[in-house]
Amino acid sequence: MTIAIALVEAAGLAYDNLYVKYTTASTLETGIITFITQANPSFPESAPNNHPISNWLTVINAFLVTNEGRLGLANGGSLDQLNTIVQLVYRICWCGEELQDDGLITSTQATALLNAYNNAFG
């Protein structure tokens, strides 16, 4: 697992980092919980510019709930599940990168998203 220093790097490392979690017992699910829990408070519903990130967190949360207890190799999780969550993490990281570049979220928010990623998957 590799710590990312920027959201675009976090996106590019999504497969590598989550694959390690996938193969390590019970860590993929806890990683996803950590990511959502730590990222979510920085993107309240009240600000429309937060909606792209908060919507991605909702989709990731839905994936978690739908696959609860069945993620990761040790739990019989499939590569298809891994591919799905990798793509979701990849996309939310890119989303955060572009929103920050466009000035639609603050650098503090982008850092919070990156920190949540690194704490969960790095």
Binding site: H51, N55, V65, Q87, R91, C95, G96
Partner: protein, 265 residues
Amino acid sequence: MSYPQTVASEAVLGGQNFWRLRTLLSSPGDMYESDASALAFAIGPDSDIANVLINYFDPLAGAASMNELVISPDRAMTGLISARNEVPYPLRLSGNRPGKILISSADVYDESFQPSTFVGGDDRMILNPPTLDVIQYFSAPPSLIPERSDKNYFYKGFVAPEWNFIVIPFYGRKYAYISLQNNDSAASADWQVLGVTYSITTDPKKHIEKQLQTVATVAANGGFDDLVVKASTSGVFDALCLGINYTPTTDLELAVNVRVSDNEV
């Protein structure tokens, strides 16, 4: 990403029978939402993106109450999809957000892509960002033809003396015709074509490439060359990367045309 985005409910209030989300894609993470219910979703005629993910509120879809589908030029979606603005997705960790319809690209895109042979500081990238075009219908459409319009790309200005790489979206396309005409009085031009499939990587040069046209030379004084790309024989790609290496005697004398289509001619 066009943000703030247009609002679907305003299209309803304006008396329109559809809402069109048409925007250049900034990244594969672009995410849009609709606060109006739909009777159909279809890929729009100008979309480069071929696969669009729709997430929506569905109380029958398990504990998350979220279902999903992917529309494409081969597959539209007809049927009621409700935007439940007043009911949250019951997802505590993400804050029980309103049950709106969520729209995103299911295709991958990397704006930093470079071919593996790209030489930094010398070569030049010309990226064409893909367009996302989705139509949400508020009344049942009489018929749906989600097939996209053909697109034509025309180029004449190239920076010498190194390679110019032009990236053209090719998601879900089944046919491309590339033609070059060199009217320069003395200078020949080298060209090549790669089929590109984007992957998840930190290295912009480590996407998947297939050489569709090895480096060839178009002679001066009216030289012509072309390439036909068919899905049935060449494969399917996210993008075509056309490389041109040309030092002109006179500017703007090398004409390049690329036509892409959903139909294999």
